[in-house]
């Protein structure tokens, strides 16, 4: 019979100890396990009586208990279980093997549960996303257009446009003429499109609910031909007619409401709900962008304006700003430019039979004026 004399740090639970627990040095002898406290008090567990269990906060702590559980010797030292197995007793070797087997089985079950939980969580996120997407859309479509107009006016008046309004009639009339050509082909009638040209070197345009559109001179400067600007305007007008602004408000409110309904006490889910809201809102935003691209192309084709202008504009954007790296695309609010260009190409390839009519504008003069 082999004896192991290694001393290992651990602890003891026993009612005779003040506070019920104390640190101890643990030894393995030929007949059993011993624990010696700092004050010299000794506790012994024979191999015959001992019951083994692995657990604790780390999941790696070994607990050795007597039958009536009045004495527990424990340690997290990795050497302990191996030393116990090699103590020379067939009985303890068997008990160690059984304990490790139970622990492995429990580990597999736990991993399976976590995996199942993650799959269910992913399904719940997808479900919430779909419910909110369609719920917000249905709710917004049942509201009168006047609500969009009121929200748009309030937003416009409180917004910092980051530049002065350009008053040059040659430029503003040209932009307004593009809108006038597109407006009759909007999928929803009743919106009044009002474009403001802002004198700032920003490559951007945006739409507010109700029909207010802001376009920056920085964008006009970058365009090589008027069809590119008309493409951007059609995209922004599509955001208005598809009522994306109101849907976004409804969706943001809906996520927290639905999560509360589904999960009850949200106190325990703070990390999860933040993550869910963040990724879902941005995914929702990307869906809107793609939808506005496609609806914009439809409007351009209907107005007999060459839709490849929008595609060309995204190529300019790609050249100027590059693309969002694929790894972080899911947290972006916009789809990457390559995807958008591909989507647009696919959508109007079917429409090439329509005869496009050019926009009769002196584009060089307009660009010259915004460059002043």
């Amino acid at each position: 019979m082999k004896s192991t004399n290694s001393i290992i740090s651990g602890g003891v639970f026993n009612d005779s100890i003040e506070g019920g627990r104390a640190g101890a040095e643990i030894g393995i002898g030929p007949q059993g396990i011993s624990a010696i406290l700092a004050d010299g008090t000794r506790f012994d567990l024979s191999f015959e009586a001992v019951e083994l269990e692995i657990g604790g906060a780390s999941g790696k702590m070994v607990f050795c208990r007597n039958e009536d559980k009045t004495l527990t010797i424990f340690t997290e030292d990795k050497r302990f279980i191996h030393s116990l197995s090699a103590a020379g007793s067939m009985l303890i070797e068997q008990k160690v093997a059984e304990c490790l087997k139970t622990n492995r089985k429990r580990g597999r079950k736990s991993r399976r549960n976590v995996l199942t939980g993650l799959v269910l969580l992913a399904l719940a996120c997808w479900g919430i996303y779909e419910v909110v997407l369609y719920g917000a859309r249905a709710a917004v479509n049942s509201l009168p257009i006047s609500i969009d107009q009121q929200i748009g006016e309030v937003a416009m008046s409180s917004m910092d446009l980051q530049g002065g309004v350009l008053e040059d009639p040659v430029v503003t009339d040209a932009i307004q003429s593009m809108v006038a050509r597109l407006a009759p082909h909007a999928s929803v009638s009743g919106f009044e499109f009002d474009v403001t040209v802002v004198d700032a070197d920003i490559l951007n345009a945006f739409a507010l609910p109700g029909g207010k559109i802001v376009i920056y001179t920085g964008l006009i400067k970058e365009a090589n031909r008027p069809e590119q600007v008309a493409g951007v305007l059609a995209h922004e007008m599509a955001h208005v007619t598809k009522r994306h602004g109101l849907q976004r408000i409804g969706q943001t409110l809906g996520i927290s409401g639905l999560a509360t309904l589904l999960a009850g006490d949200l106190g325990g889910l703070a990390v999860l709900t933040e993550l869910l809201a963040f990724s879902t809102i941005n995914k929702y935003s990307r869906t809107h962008e793609t939808e506005a691209d496609l609806e914009g192309v439809r409007m351009l084709v209907a107005a007999k304006i060459d839709p490849s202008g929008l595609e060309e504009f995204f190529e300019i954007m790609q050249h100027e700003h590059g693309d969002v790296p694929a790894a972080i695309a899911w947290i972006s609010t916009h789809p990457d430019h390559e995807d958008r260009i591909r989507e647009i190409q696919n959508s109007f390839q079917e429409e090439t039979t329509a005869g496009f009519e050019p926009l009769h504008l002196d584009w060089d003069e307009i660009v010259k004026r915004v460059n002043r």
Binding site: G56, L266, G267, G268, L269
Partner: protein
């Protein structure tokens, strides 16, 4: 070193009486006042072991604590230091003697030299659903430890199984483990009962729970606040 917890449990503060040369490490910003014979030093390292540095500081930040630690050392006998946590609630004194205590991120307030403060991860499921932070503070070694709770703190001697609502754990012995599960036998019952998920502890050891949890309190208070 002597610890007195004052004004329990709603707005507790701790008075620490230090002997000559004795030192205590506190959370940054915890000091209310101190007598003139105490010197203060701010570092990223634990005082007793000297372990730590920038990496440990960053790890502490992930668990909801501060990058820096404040060390208060008495230059003579009977110097007093008054400290309190950032939020309202109780303070509990715990004596570590060789084992480890797993403390909720943000609940570690102060410890004596022999206590090593580190960060630990308690599994993906627990990180996402326990209502606590993703990382926890692991205090080990020999010495005194002060923890703070939101609301009153109560101690439970677990021997077998015990269930705590998410967001109510302050600390637990390393001899305990917990898993997040349903409060009710059926998932629907769990959700409709308003308790959602709960933390199910097993093993033998001490568990410290808090009477309130900040997110629930925030959701009651939030709607009553005027927008800024």
């Amino acid at each position: 070193m002597q610890f007195d917890i004052l004004a329990r449990p709603a707005a507790s503060a701790a008075r620490i009486t230090l002997g000559a040369g004795e030192s205590v490490t506190c959370e940054v910003g915890a000091m209310i006042g101190m007598s003139s014979g105490i010197s203060v030093e701010t570092t990223t390292r634990s005082r007793g072991s000297g372990k730590g540095g920038v990496l440990k500081g960053l790890k502490r930040m992930f668990s909801g604590e501060n990058f820096f630690l404040n060390h208060f050392t008495a230059n003579q006998a009977d110097e007093t230091l008054l400290i309190s946590p950032q939020s309202l609630g109780d303070i509990v004194h715990y004596t570590l003697s060789g084992g480890s205590l797993i403390v909720q991120g943000g609940s570690w307030l102060a410890s004596s030299n022999g206590v090593e403060v580190d960060t630990t991860f308690q599994g993906l499921g627990n990180a996402l659903l326990s209502g606590e932070g993703i990382f926890w503070v692991k205090c080990s070694g020999n010495g005194d430890l002060l923890m703070n709770s939101f609301g009153a703190v109560y101690e439970v001697d677990v021997d077998g199984e015990y269930t705590v609502d998410t967001g109510h754990i302050v600390a637990y012995d390393d001899t305990l483990q917990f898993k997040v599960g349903k409060s009710n036998k059926s998932l629907l019952g769990s959700l409709l009962g308003g308790e959602g998920f709960v933390c199910k502890f097993s093993g033998q050891g001490k568990l410290y729970c808090q009477s309130h949890n900040p997110p629930s309190f925030g959701s009651v208070l939030g709607p009553k606040l005027k927008p800024r």
